[in-house]
């Protein structure tokens, strides 16, 4: 047990440290809720924030979230047996999972795709993703992902927070907590959606859960006000605005004069200065008029199918260029990849919208030398079943699906793991969501079990005491 002297010293230390840290979160200046709780175990845990545990390969992350569940067996994981057995019930030798729509015994649905090996690596990609196929030598395709959430809500929640039940911080929040931002004037964790629809679970997906709200993702809106309440209200002139801030500063200084030891008060004063600086900085960060036509074409501008997601991808590049730590883009926000019926129509559309901008982002990052330190992740909350649903669709498949990672130290041109002969269960090198998260953190130089936040007296970590990084992802 810590004695009281030590405790007091710790308090002084942590207060000062918190103030000095400054940029944790979107201009978070004081997090006094942390003070009381961090002490008891602070000694036991290694210093858990604002410095990686070991040399990172990646400094930033862009997570392209294909929301609704893309079909791995129609995109990255070809299954000849599926077409052979199409129309029949799954052989008894396959273990039955609990599925969302109860389609365990429905006839198997063939994949009508044309498959080809691409690049020097010869990675299989279907004809639905011709542009991504051109980048396979940069991708590590992970065919053996699995998760627990069988529904969208649980699945999306788990892919973000590690568990299907709500309440935990999102991966981006953990990274924000662990590493902070490189640009105090922008959020460390930015979220975008390709449409106006809200992703399943809404803002809870990028929430900080039990951590202070300062670590949550901040939504970036294309348009005149990139971050909420950034702009001076209509009818207030810049001159009046400055005058108000000046009066506020005087009031606060007078208030503080008799309370000089209260660091929160100083932090609050600084938060207004920071707000003012953000108002000056953010508009430039999102100003796409500075991008060349060639760049815009790369991302699919000028085509109504590809432009919405392309715009998000281009903004993502601008964000990581400016030191934003974690960017997440929802493609198909509102479960648009969900294809319980009319697989063909659904995935043709989803792929048409996302494929070219995804490849554009990879190429652009690469040509600017950013890919080396930027980890790009592609995937949804789960895959889809080999069994059919409603004749021409597929049910949710959490027990085996594909994601890919590129950049940020990942060795491209490799395929990791495998599913069974029908693509139902992950069988080789199975990587649970916790393992995937641990791998992302590993690339960022963080050991997943050593990033600790104390909540209710419990030392919490991002992968809930589980998860092992697939470290071979850097070497293959």
């Amino acid at each position: 047990m810590m004695n009281f002297e030590e405790q007091v010293t710790n308090d002084i230390f942590s207060r000062r440290e918190l103030l000095l840290r400054g940029g944790a979160g979107f201009g978070a200046l004081a997090l006094s809720g942390l003070l009381a709780r961090d002490n008891a175990l602070a000694k036991a845990a290694r210093p858990s924030f604002l410095q990686p545990h070991f040399a990172p390969r990646a400094k930033r992350v862009i997570f392209l979230f294909m929301e609704g569940g893309p079909s791995h067996i129609d995109l990255f994981d070809p299954k000849p047996l599926l077409n052979k057995l199409a129309g029949q019930r799954m052989p008894e030798s396959f273990k039955r999972p609990i599925t969302a729509m109860g389609e365990t015994e429905s006839p198997l649905l063939a994949s009508p795709r044309t498959w080809k090996r691409h690049g020097q690596s010869g990675t299989w990609v279907s004809d639905w993703l011709p542009h991504t196929a051109g980048c396979v030598d940069d991708l590590a395709v992970i065919r053996s992902c699995w998760t627990n959430g069988i529904n969208h809500s649980g699945g999306v929640c788990q892919m973000n927070t590690g568990q299907p039940l709500a309440g935990r911080p999102s991966l981006g929040s953990w990274v924000n907590y662990g590493l902070g931002t490189e640009n105090e004037n922008l959020p460390a964790f930015v979220v975008m959606t390709d449409t106006k629809s809200t992703p399943t679970n809404g803002p809870r997906n990028w929430s900080a859960g039990f951590m202070p709200a300062a670590y949550q993702g901040i939504r970036l809106n294309p348009g005149e006000e990139p971050f909420r309440h950034l702009n001076i209200p209509k009818g207030v002139t810049p001159q009046t605005h400055r005058r108000k801030l000046e009066l506020l500063r005087r009031l606060n200084e007078q208030h503080r004069a008799t309370r000089e030891h209260q660091s929160e008060l100083e932090a609050r004063i600084r938060s207004y200065e920071l707000a003012y600086r953000m108002q000056a900085t953010a508009p430039e960060a999102v100003d796409l008029s500075r991008e060349s036509e060639a760049t815009k074409r790369l991302y699919g501008f000028g085509n109504q199918d590809t432009e919405p997601f392309g715009r998000c991808c281009l903004l993502a590049r601008r964000m990581v260029e400016r030191g934003v730590r974690f960017v997440q883009i929802y493609h198909g926000a509102g479960s648009k990849w969900d294809s319980h019926s009319k697989m063909e129509e659904n995935h043709s559309r989803q792929c048409r919208q996302s494929d070219l901008p995804t490849a554009g982002l990879l190429k652009d990052l690469k040509s600017r030398g950013l890919l080396e330190e930027t980890l790009v992740i592609w995937g949804g909350e789960f895959g889809r079943t080999p069994m059919s649903e409603k004749g021409d669709g597929r049910d949710h498949n959490p027990t085996g699906f594909t994601m890919w990672m590129a950049g940020g130290g990942v060795r491209g041109g490799q395929v990791i793991g495998a599913t069974d002969e029908l693509g139902l269960w992950a069988t080789e090198n199975r990587l649970h969501v916790h393992d995937l998260h641990a791998t992302v953190l590993h690339l960022l130089g963080i050991h997943n079990l050593d990033l600790i936040y104390h909540y209710k007296g419990r030392p919490e970590n991002p992968t809930i005491n589980e998860g092992e990084a697939y470290t071979k992802i850097t070497s293959g």
């Binding site: 979160g25 006094s32 529904n151 709500a166 803002p203 300062a214 004063i269 920071l274 953000m278 419990r458």
Partner: protein, 697 residues
């Protein structure tokens, strides 16, 4: 040498299981009986009540002196916000300043405790603890149209100063201990606040998670013990065994969510039960035949998520007649049945030929017994009962051992003694046994945990800093004798919360000023309470405070929740939608109400500043305040400024502040047309951003 206490269980198969706790485990402070410590004589003239003597003794030991007393304006703002969540109105301030009787402050405190605003202000911290919400969470985040009754129950209980032991018992077992009391049944909504996914086909896993959630929150809220670590293994730091987790969980094993729960006293329920049994016996055969016909047709055409998506095991449970289901089958079947609807009104068209005839004949026969059927009792929704008098077995996962309900072994290794309630309640009595154990006057955790929560509210941090974790990961109490003395006093005062609040806020310790140079230097964390900690207003206080000073606050009490943006009622009455938190509340650290929150985070962010500076919501408050001031003091800028200061900060402006304000109004007035009100609005807007408003000291 470590002494060990071995606890032995004789298992059903005759084998003996031994568990050992170390002497250190047994000596852990939180498990010791509450000691009725003698009040030290240490506070001298400074002390007002017993609290101060305990505090003074530690201050002396640390060579610290208490701060001077806060001035009256500071004190009234502090105590109003602490007890009611609202800043004092200028009239309240004037009344207090004008009252020069020696007990003016005590009488102010009594007025506040008697005000309906007290319960509204206090309910906030309780709703954080129980993760209250008006929606399911998950994808659809469905609205819960009945949940607000629980919020009102909490407010009512605080306002009437319901003894805390009764308050706890009603929430855990109101259906068993007072089944004819609607309020006691509403209290059991405590066991309904879990997040819920309406279309989760893995029903058994979801149910298991719900029971775990209920177990966890019970440990967190009432016992200040984080149990959840022990769900998968013996607790790594505290003497909580995995077996204990399941012993605690077993109290909830028979739980059944109820949306048509009868309200009736034991005699009423007994009479109803008797009549119903007679009717059921007389109509048994008819209903059995009817079930066979109807169910087939009903399950063929289901609405909602439908019947066919479930696995066979669950389908079989649903197909069983309710009276043939075991308690566990009833739980799972009823949870599954929430996912789909049946259409009995369409039976006449769906049944054909001979079946139809047989059905009609059976229906007619059944009708002849209608008079024997008991009249239905009034009902209440969104509450709980047990699934029957026999509880499903509780097993430790992987090990498979069946465990009986029991408490933390370190405190009480035996199985709980359970008295089954009257047969008419069809309940096990397990939760009553749990409530009785938690509210025993000699339970070392319950009273300590609660007085420590109140202390945190008034003094910024608990005497034990981790208010929901009295285990080894929490910190040791700074004033263990005081904590015990308060806990004992709490129980001796019939668990009265109001008396405890009164004791705390009338102490000299509470009345100190925030400034104490010596304490700030030596004890920056204010561990020894030699001054008052400056605190930022909570989310509710920011919102309600802005509406109060703009004159827009609607003080209507109770009823269904409102949408925060569209109403000027107090924040406690807004709907808490888990997936759509209100912006102002969320920005100022309101928790997500998905899990238990014992102590809110307090952040200082630019996001907050941007919201207060630029959002339309704040602008509207500023405009309303400007209008209010213009009306109260037409044409008199000085009076407007003075009033605005008093409303926003509880203080009169300094001469220099008055000058600054006048200069600001002049400059803005010149720059903006039309001048007067627009300039005043900008001025009010500045006050709403000021630290003197956002902090209380």
């Amino acid at each position: 040498m470590i002494q060990r206490l071995a606890i032995l269980w004789v298992l059903l198969d005759g084998s003996v299981l031994a568990v050992e706790f170390t002497q250190a485990d047994r000596d852990w402070w939180a498990f010791q009986p509450v000691r009725q410590a003698a009040v030290p004589d240490a506070g001298g003239d400074w002390a007002i009540n017993e609290i101060d003597h305990f505090i003074a003794r530690r201050l002396a030991a640390q060579e610290l002196s208490p701060a001077t007393a806060a001035d009256r304006r500071t004190l009234i703002r502090r105590v109003c916000l602490d007890l009611t969540g609202l800043p004092p109105a200028p009239e309240q301030i004037a009344e207090f300043l004008d009252d020069d009787s020696p007990d003016a402050y005590e009488r102010l405190v009594d007025r506040l405790l008697d005000s309906p605003r007290y319960g509204e202000g206090q309910a906030t911290f309780w709703l954080d603890l129980v993760r209250y919400a008006d929606s399911d969470g998950y994808k659809s985040d469905h609205y819960r149209p009945e949940a607000w009754r629980y919020r009102d129950y909490v407010i009512r209980s605080f306002n009437t100063d319901k003894p805390y032991d009764r308050f706890v018992s009603e929430q855990l077992a109101g259906d068993e201990i007072d089944p004819g009391n609607r309020d006691a049944l509403i209290a059991t909504m405590f066991l309904r606040h879990w997040i819920y996914e309406y279309n989760q086909r893995d029903v058994e896993t979801q149910w298991n998670d719900i029971l775990a959630d209920v177990t966890n929150v019970t440990g967190d809220v009432f016992l200040g013990m984080g149990l959840q670590c022990a769900r998968c293994h013996d607790h790594k730091f505290d003497p909580i065994l995995q077996r204990d987790y399941y012993r605690m969980k077993a109290f909830f094993a028979p739980l059944l969510p109820r949306d048509s729960m009868p309200v009736g006293t034991v005699p009423q329920r007994t009479e109803f039960f008797r009549q119903h049994k007679a009717w059921a016996a007389a109509t048994g055969d008819i209903r059995k035949q009817l079930h066979a016909i109807e169910q087939l047709a009903l399950l063929k055409n289901t609405t909602g998520e439908g019947f066919n998506k479930f696995i066979d095991k669950i389908k079989a449970m649903i197909r069983k007649r309710p009276q043939d289901r075991t308690a566990y089958e009833r739980q799972i079947a009823e949870l599954s049945e929430r996912q789909f609807g049946v259409e009995p009104e369409k039976l006449p068209e769906r049944l054909k030929g001979a079946t139809r005839e047989e059905w009609e004949q059976l229906r007619a026969e059944l009708k002849t017994f209608e008079e024997q059927k008991p009249k239905p009792l009034p009902q209440v929704k969104f509450v709980v009962s047990d699934a029957g008098p026999v509880a499903p077995a509780t097993r430790i996962p992987k090990k498979g051992d069946v465990v009986e309900p029991g408490f933390l072994s370190i405190l009480d290794p035996g199985s709980a003694r359970i008295t089954p309630p009257r047969a008419a309640l069809q309940s096990t009595g397990r939760r009553t046994a749990l409530a009785q154990w938690i509210t025993r006057p000699d339970n070392p955790l319950t009273s300590r945990v609660m007085v420590n929560r109140l202390w945190q509210q008034h003094f910024g941090r608990g005497l034990a800093a981790n208010v929901s974790d009295f285990g080894k990961l929490g910190e040791l109490p700074t004033h263990p004798e005081l904590l015990d003395w308060l806990a004992a006093r709490f129980v001796a005062n019939d668990w009265s919360l109001k008396k405890m609040h009164r004791l705390m806020v009338t102490s000299a310790t509470y009345r100190q000023a925030a400034a104490n140079e010596q304490s700030e230097r030596i004890d920056p964390a204010n561990t020894w309470f030699a001054r008052t900690a400056i605190q930022r207003l909570s989310a509710e206080q920011v919102r309600d405070g802005l509406l109060a000073l703009s004159g827009e606050l609607d003080l209507k009490s109770g009823g269904e929740g409102v949408v925060a943006d569209k109403s000027n009622r107090r924040a406690i009455y807004r709907k808490v939608m888990r997936n759509n938190p209100d912006e102002v509340m969320h920005t100022f650290d309101m928790p997500d109400h998905i899990s238990h929150m014992p102590q809110r985070n307090v952040t200082t962010t630019a996001t907050q500043s941007l919201l207060l500076l630029n959002s339309e919501w704040t602008r509207k408050r500023a405009a309303a305040l400007a209008k209010r001031l213009a009306k109260r003091h037409p044409g008199n800028a000085e009076a407007q400024i003075t009033d605005a200061h008093e409303l926003a900060f509880g203080q009169a402006p300094l001469p220099s502040q008055l000058n600054d304000a006048l200069a600001f109004l002049d400059a803005c007035g010149a720059a903006n047309k039309p001048s007067g009100l627009a300039a005043l609005t900008e001025y009010c807007h500045v006050l709403m951003n000021a630290n003197a408003f956002l902090y209380v000291d």
